[in-house]
Amino acid sequence: MNFKLKDIGPQLMTVIAVVLVFGFFTYNAQVNMENRGIDFGFGFLSQESSFDVQFSLIEYDGSHSYFRAYLVGLLNTILVSVIGIILATILGVIVGIARLSPNYLINKFAAFYVEFFRNIPLLLQIFFWYFAALRALPLPQDAEAMFGISYLTIKGLFVPAFIWQNSNIFFYSIVAAIIAIIVIRTRAKKKQETQGTQTPVLLISIGLILILPLLSFLIGGVRLSFEIPVLKQLATTSFIYEGGVSLPPELIALALSLSLYTATFIAECVRAGIQGVGKGQKEAAASIGLTPNQVLKLVVMPQALRIIIPPTTNQYLNLTKNSSLAAAIAYPDLVLVFAGTALMQTGKAIEIVSITMFTYLSLSISISLFMNWYNNKIAIQEK
């Protein structure tokens, strides 16, 4: 009993102290707000927002609620973070491996890239890419068509929109292909364990994911057509593309600068991970007759990943949080839409800032929980 109290005591005291501090500040804020005639409450979330947003993944205009505006901002933050994480990972892995290349030119170029981009403040890079892009990109009427259907202009990237018929059948065909691949993989693994024969799983998987959706076109009645952007004149010298999908230059500049910046850190994680696998491991693997590909896939990578994942998780978190710099270049993310315009229109500073902080906190915790789960999965399984 005594032992337990000694164990829990300090933690209990910490919790009590935290609660007291929290309570003190809450009370203090309440008194101050009352003195100044500011109401506290979340009722404003259901009020009409009456402002428009440039770019939204869900249907939204000023007649929707502030809560809807919050969702718009949140989804835009998630969108740019996901794009950024994917690009940064691809680029980071390539550069990380390139830094280990015996080729002098590749090696030095990768090192230069890493040192250059990670040592310039991100906000400056965002401004640079945004305003450099604005200066360099053509006006809509001067833009050259890419592949005859897409236009990269100062007002954004205009690409054709897909128009589906029976899109649900196409969707089911992909789901069916994925299920089939999972079944075949488990079967193949079992077969290898019991009979020792290998199945070309990768080839079968690629075949399935191509053939099943193709069949849906041929016999499932799925049709796909494109809506190609068309130039429209607004005034003597002002033009815009209509139809198709447009990606604002703000999104492109932000995703580009976030991934170029974060990729440098990921590249260093990857390099550290690969260098962290002992040389003896590779030699031992080679000595038992594994091919160089098998050495990489079965011996080096599984061990390197254990070193790479935890610091890379930090970089993913950083990228997500850094995306809040979007406000500087008018990309309507959570901070610009909700902690910016909505805060101004309602004056609910405490409510909105706390919602925004909790949202970023939840995003970060979700990412870190997912990465921890993945890290545990690939960690050494103690038996």
């Binding site: 101050n32 428009d52 000023g62 200066r135 002002s238 406000a327 229109q345 906190l361």
Partner: protein
Amino acid sequence: MFKYLKQLTSLVAMVAVLFTFTTETMAAKKSKTLKNTQKKGFVRCGVSQGLPGFSNADAAGNWTGVDVDVCRAVAAAVLGDANKVKFTPLSAKERFTALTSGEIDILSRNTTWTLSRDADIGLTFVGVNFYDGQGFMVRKSSGITSVDQFKNGISACTNIGTTTELNMRDFFNSRGISYEPVAFEKADEVVAAYDAGRCDTYTTDKSGLAAQRTKMQNPDEHIVLPETISKEPLGPVVRQGDSVWEDIVRWSLNTMIEAEEYGITSANADSMKTSDNPQIKRLVGAEGEMGAAFGLDNEWNLRIIKQVGNYGESYKRNIADTGILPDRGPNELWTKGGILYVPPSR
């Protein structure tokens, strides 16, 4: 259970930090602002991050503008020296929080007086020092000469956190035009993006358009369209709950406007003490007890006029002579065809 303790603790800690910001100053008891200001020896004034004619800092860090002059007037009245002002540049987004949290005591930052701002968020507007309205700027080469020529798909650059965003929506909606709002946090980025060709039009208060036009690479390539789509009465704001301070700021502004009405300038203020007109004598502290109710001496208004000048002098110095808006338009005295009309000092 303890697996998530770390995350929980960080969460609680964050919330605690959040509330610290709001508790910086607890002193919001009645008329404490005046006492604190005199104790500190300077007036804490929130201004814009750079709007020529209204509040703009030169290379040496000297602030000028009609909004700046309101704060200088208050400093002259309560401290005796118009230079004893500490200016805090604020973005549109930060301005009200800075005021309600007690970081500044006057917000004089081309801020539109609206019902919801006055009533909802712990603020009190004390008057109007510039009557403005929202307009649009376009490139001359576009051939657009009126908002009637706007078409579906037009992109409009503007600032976030202002009434501009709401007026813009009302305007385009009522005309059934679809538009792309591109909203930046700082005015400099709006100007840079519009100047680069990102947007077809730039919309904000007309005075702001006129001022920002001077910052463009080639100001002559842009025109401000004649239409005004909203009323934007701009004026100084104080925190709710200190009515004496509120009165001091209100009457500092009123004094400047009334001084112009009676022809009192910074040059002739001293000689006006012997005027035959009792109204003029009251405005230069030579008759009546005009400062007692504020807790000030009788010459507070004389100091404003001597050190800052009357409203007309301030307008001429900051807005007309700098070429921003040579024509005073509605910001002319009521006696000269404008709408500047203030209650009498008596």
